[in-house]
């Protein structure tokens, strides 16, 4: 399976610096249809309104965390229920990774990360570049 670079990607992070970094890295990887949200609530609204091929979300955000966003997406009956979801977070304890996995995350990236890591994780979820 080869990755489709025309998909819509939603990135979610409360730090504008991180949104900008991920957006730039995605652009370098050939993804140009990238939307942004600064917390889980705003992200959920966007996911309901538009079809995304990938969600890349931080964990530690207010009012709705990335984990809560993931749980609500996976608990939905809508078509977006199975959208590929990558958690990008500084939370690196084993229990965090386990909780995210149990909630249905597709992959998990620990901050700080580089372009190569992002590429590898996206490839594991969407297919080879």
């Amino acid at each position: 399976m080869s990755v489709n670079k025309n998909i819509n990607i939603l990135i979610v992070d409360d730090y504008t610096t991180m949104l900008r970094i991920i957006k730039n890295l995605l652009k370098q990887l050939g993804f140009n249809n990238v939307d942004e949200a600064t917390d889980g609530t705003a992200a959920l609204e966007k996911i309901k309104a538009k079809e995304y091929g990938l969600v890349i979300s931080d964990w530690n955000m207010e009012p709705m965390t990335g984990l809560e966003l993931l749980k609500q997406v996976r608990a939905s009956e809508a078509a977006f229920k199975n959208v590929p979801f990558i958690m990008v977070t500084a939370e690196s304890k084993t229990e965090n990774v386990v909780a995210a996995k149990q909630a249905g995350v597709n992959n998990y990236i620990v901050k700080p990360f580089n372009a190569e890591t992002l590429k590898t994780k996206i490839a594991s979820v969407l297919g080879e570049f």
Partner: protein, 204 residues
């Protein structure tokens, strides 16, 4: 606080606790043996007890928990918030410059552009420090606020007067008294204001 001072204070605290326990023990003993119970002896024991309690309150007051809650901790959290804000602004400026260089590299094209682009990506990756340090500082701010809350509880037990015994004076002298580090944005004097002040001083 030096290690020696901390040890000395801990020893004094233990000694006071011992004294308190001894006085209360002695009173209970006298109450139990009704024969040795005199008005004078109870009065003396209560007086000793009162003195130990008052000494303890005064010594806690010297630590100025009121200042810790209303001045020291808010100053520390404001400074940390300013660090987060300043690093966010600096990071945005670095990334703006990277965008401009990428655009310029795109106009050049070829291998050189690719090499420039690779290096720019490394700068972008490194900029994620701002997110990580921001999260760490936020954790420290939360801890400080937790301490502030506990100190507030201590003050409510001691009473405001005991919590701020004596005036704390700035003991620094000479140049040291002028060194206060960077000012927080709301208090900072701008370069324009400094230029104006210098011009006024020159005119005198």
């Amino acid at each position: 606080m030096s290690e020696n001072l901390a040890v000395k204070q801990a020893e004094e605290g233990t000694s006071k606790r011992d004294k308190l326990v001894k006085i209360i023990g002695s009173m209970l003993d006298k109450v139990e043996k009704a024969g040795s119970l005199t008005r004078e002896s109870i009065f003396q024991e209560l007086k000793d007890l009162k003195k130990v309690i008052e000494d303890s309150r005064r010594e806690i007051g010297i630590a100025r928990p009121g200042d810790i809650r209303t001045k020291d901790i808010p100053t520390a959290t404001d400074e940390l918030d300013a660090v987060v804000e300043a690093t966010a602004q600096a990071t945005a400026t670095i990334m703006d410059a990277c965008d401009a260089i990428q655009t310029a590299a795109g106009e050049i094209g070829g291998d050189q552009a690719n090499r420039i682009n690779d290096e720019i990506m490394k700068i972008f990756e490194a900029c994620s420090f701002q997110d990580i340090t921001g999260q760490r500082i936020t954790k420290v701010v939360k801890t400080l606020k937790n301490i502030e809350e506990r100190v507030g509880h201590l003050i409510s037990l001691l009473g405001d007067k005991a919590a701020n015994a004596g005036e704390e004076e700035d003991k620094r002298v000479g140049d040291a008294k002028l060194l206060n580090g960077p000012q927080l944005p709301p208090k900072a004097v701008s370069q324009d204001e400094i230029d104006k002040l210098l011009a006024e001083l020159d005119g005198q």
